[in-house]
């Protein structure tokens, strides 16, 4: 018992020593309450690296409001309770921007802590409408585009450019993100004349076999033109592999969750497979500045961006810094006000709009990547004809 308490006291002394703020008064502090270990690490780290690149650029160009941007970090361990601690920790260290985990579920605890402290929080790449005002509060934003936009984009694009008329909807019920893709698809489909849903089914990401679901598709009297596959890593690879193995040839539409070519060696002959991307990681982006960024990213981290989810990190610092410049202050309310004035604000990876009711993108330009014989390449670009209404998204 005695030993225990001594050990405990020792630990707290160490904690206290570290807990003391380390930032200088004339620095602007950006706090990363993200995962540097556990499941989310693989998603948070790349986006965080991209954010660091933008911070570096800003610092090299003379800083923000004449001050240098300093960063502090705390590990969420991909755990919600730890996430709240990490949020509190970076706030303690003086962060005026709290960057939280890529996923809404894992980022929310830290974002809520920031909200309570009156700080601006940014989700690295969360794509749920809750990542913002609706799920955290008026000081919270997301740097990415809503998942629903991805589903809607795929439906409208395939209808217009690929003459897809019959669809099948296959939803992996694992995450809100997956459901979001299908929500956008559901919203768009009735707007497309003559487009028909032949059927729908669900599976679980961890299902080792989706044979029963595939059998259901194959027993349809008519095979669909396109399958809207609302899923994500890792289950989606297995699903795609099994769909093609069963001889189903319909084109497969996806969310950005399958962006990046790193997993395609599982399905070397994959074709008729379409993915919405905010920017191309394949080196063929129509905007050469994106290709330049990819080189910069490689120089900084040693590897090419693995998927489009690297990019929102860069966008995040970009728009936030612009807002700070315009507000001439890091004060949360002033920055939020400036952010909300942004309408189709140009960024390297598509325009960004924030309003007083939505701190997320309910419409956005997407590159369309086609996988052909196992090789991905950008083939088109699409922006949905109208923004998805916030009310629709909230009802979901």
């Amino acid at each position: 018992m005695k030993k225990l308490l001594t050990g405990f006291a020792g630990a707290t002394v160490i904690m206290a020593a570290l807990g003391v703020g380390i930032a200088k008064a004339d620095d602007i502090v950006v706090g990363f309450a993200t995962a540097s270990s556990g499941f989310m690490q693989a998603y948070d780290k790349p986006a965080q690296d991209a954010a660091m690149i933008r911070i570096d650029e800003i610092n090299k160009a003379g800083g923000l409001l004449g001050k240098q941007i300093k960063t502090v970090a705390a590990d969420t361990k991909t755990d919600r309770a730890e996430g709240a601690k990490a949020g509190l920790e970076v706030i303690d260290k003086g962060a005026s921007l709290v960057v939280v985990s890529c996923d809404y579920d894992f980022g929310a605890p830290a974002a809520l802590a920031a909200e309570a402290a009156g700080k601006v929080s940014f989700f690295l790449c969360a794509e749920s409408i809750k990542a913002g005002i609706q799920g955290v509060g008026p000081h919270s934003f997301s740097a990415s585009v809503l998942a629903a936009v991805q589903g809607a984009t795929m439906a409208e694009w395939s209808y217009n450019k690929k003459k897809a008329r019959t669809f099948y909807r296959l939803l992996d019920t694992w995450t809100e993100y997956n459901k979001g893709i299908c929500d956008g698809f559901d919203w768009m489909l009735p707007k497309l004349k003559d487009a028909k849903l032949l059927g729908q089914d669900t599976f679980k990401n961890e299902d080792t076999s989706i044979a029963a679901q595939i059998t259901r598709i194959k027993s349809l009297p008519q095979q669909p033109d396109a399958i809207m596959l609302c899923s994500m890593m890792p289950g989606v690879v297995s699903a795609v592999k099994q769909i093609r193995a069963a001889g189903i040839k319909s084109m497969i539409l996806n969310g950005s969750g399958v962006s990046g070519g790193y997993w395609l060696n599982a399905t070397p002959d994959l074709s008729d497979f379409y993915v919405p991307d905010q920017g191309s990681v394949y080196g063929d982006d129509p905007n050469s500045a994106v290709n330049d960024f990819n080189k910069k990213y490689k120089a900084a981290t040693g590897g090419e961006p693995s998927s489009q989810y690297v990019y929102p990190g860069y966008v995040m610092i970009d728009v936030w810094a612009k807002a700070v410049e315009r507000a001439k202050s890091t004060d949360a309310d002033a920055v939020v006000k400036e952010l909300e004035k942004m309408k189709d604000e140009k960024t390297l990876f598509g325009p960004r709009t924030f309003t007083s009711t939505l701190h997320h993108q309910n419409r956005g330009r997407y590159l369309i990547t086609e996988v052909k014989n196992g090789k991905p390449g950008v083939v088109d670009e699409w922006t949905i004809s109208e923004a998805i209404p916030v009310e629709y998204l909230m009802k979901k």
């Binding site: 989310m40 690490q41 599982a266």
Partner: protein, 304 residues
């Protein structure tokens, strides 16, 4: 008819996986009353053994490039070694501990394996195309069935036959069955306890490796979580089958596989996401109906 055949194959191939995993667990439980929660992590470990450690998103396939006649023995050996190592380093020290302690120790071991993999490979699932020709469909009575499904079922049958032959026809098999039934008595007849347990771990590890190979061929994914869900179902199958009863584990594995495929087929769309609730509800019903499992070994009562 073709649809029915398809469903039958779906159920059998899923059931095969569960059955193989369930035997792996039942075997260990039989000889040492250990519910080995690390079994799922053995599966993941074997799959990761195909790759070279790297935290890049793209998989660096290493052992996976070997020709099958080398790859299969290599991975089976990896599984057997990992399993035996865990017995030597950890479980051997718990011979007289109560089952709960052993269970938690196995969980802690699994935790260590999982996070070691996480450190070496990062958490991002990796992709690998192992034996792509197995993904092609074959025609059986007008039904187009993925070749892998057929192979999975065939392999399972082969493994089961081999295991039965081993248990029935060899000295070691005889000793293992005896040890599973009454460990102390077997020792008093000169059965070498540690050798038998080690062998059981080796077989269990090889079973985990074969599940890993089937999973990776089927899903094309290498993921830290991939063993866990199979392991959970297998664990339940082992209990429903009657703990320690190998035939029970096999039958229950197939039963659970069949029931989940059936549920996916017959449940209406709105209720389909609740599939697992029905499956687990059925598990509770079976347990209430037969608390000692469907096939309780004759001597189990006095020991559990």
């Amino acid at each position: 008819m073709t649809a029915l055949l398809q469903i039958l194959f779906d159920a059998l191939s899923l059931g095969s996986l569960y059955a193989l995993a369930a035997i792996g667990i039942a075997l260990i439980f039989g000889v040492m009353r250990l519910v080995n929660f690390a079994h799922g992590d053995y599966i993941s470990f074997c799959v990761f053994a195909l790759l070279w450690p790297s935290i890049e998103a793209t998989a660096f396939v290493f052992a996976g490039q070997l020709p099958p006649y080398l790859l299969i023995p290599v991975i089976l050996t990896v599984g057997a070694c990992l399993s035996m190592l865990s017995e030597i380093l950890v479980f051997r020290r718990f011979r007289n501990a109560n089952p709960a302690t052993m269970m938690i120790a196995s969980f802690a071991l699994g935790f260590v394996i999982k996070y070691t993999l996480l450190m070496l490979f990062s958490s991002r699932p990796k992709s690998i195309d192992l034996w792509p020709s197995l993904s092609l469909p074959v025609e059986i009575f007008d039904a187009r069935i993925p070749l892998l499904q057929v192979i999975t079922i065939v392999i399972t049958i082969v493994i089961l036959i081999a295991l039965v032959a081993f248990l029935k026809r060899t000295r070691f098999g005889l000793e293992m069955r005896a040890a599973a039934e009454n460990f102390t008595m077997a020792r008093m007849l000169g059965v070498r306890a540690n050798a038998v347990i080690l062998l059981a771990f080796a077989i269990s590890g090889m079973l985990a490796a074969s599940i890993g190979l089937i999973l990776v061929t089927q899903t094309g994914t290498v993921d830290i979580q991939m063993g866990s869900s199979v392991m959970l179902v297998a664990f339940i199958a082992t209990v429903i089958g009657g703990l320690g009863s190998l035939p029970g584990a096999v039958v229950a594995g197939f039963l659970i596989g069949g029931v989940s495929v059936l549920m996916q087929v017959i449940l209406p769309f709105d209720i389909r996401p609740f599939r697992d609730a029905f499956v687990y509800g059925a598990v509770i019903a079976v347990l209430i109906w037969r608390p000692n499992g469907l096939f309780m070994p004759r001597s189990a009562k006095q020991r559990v």
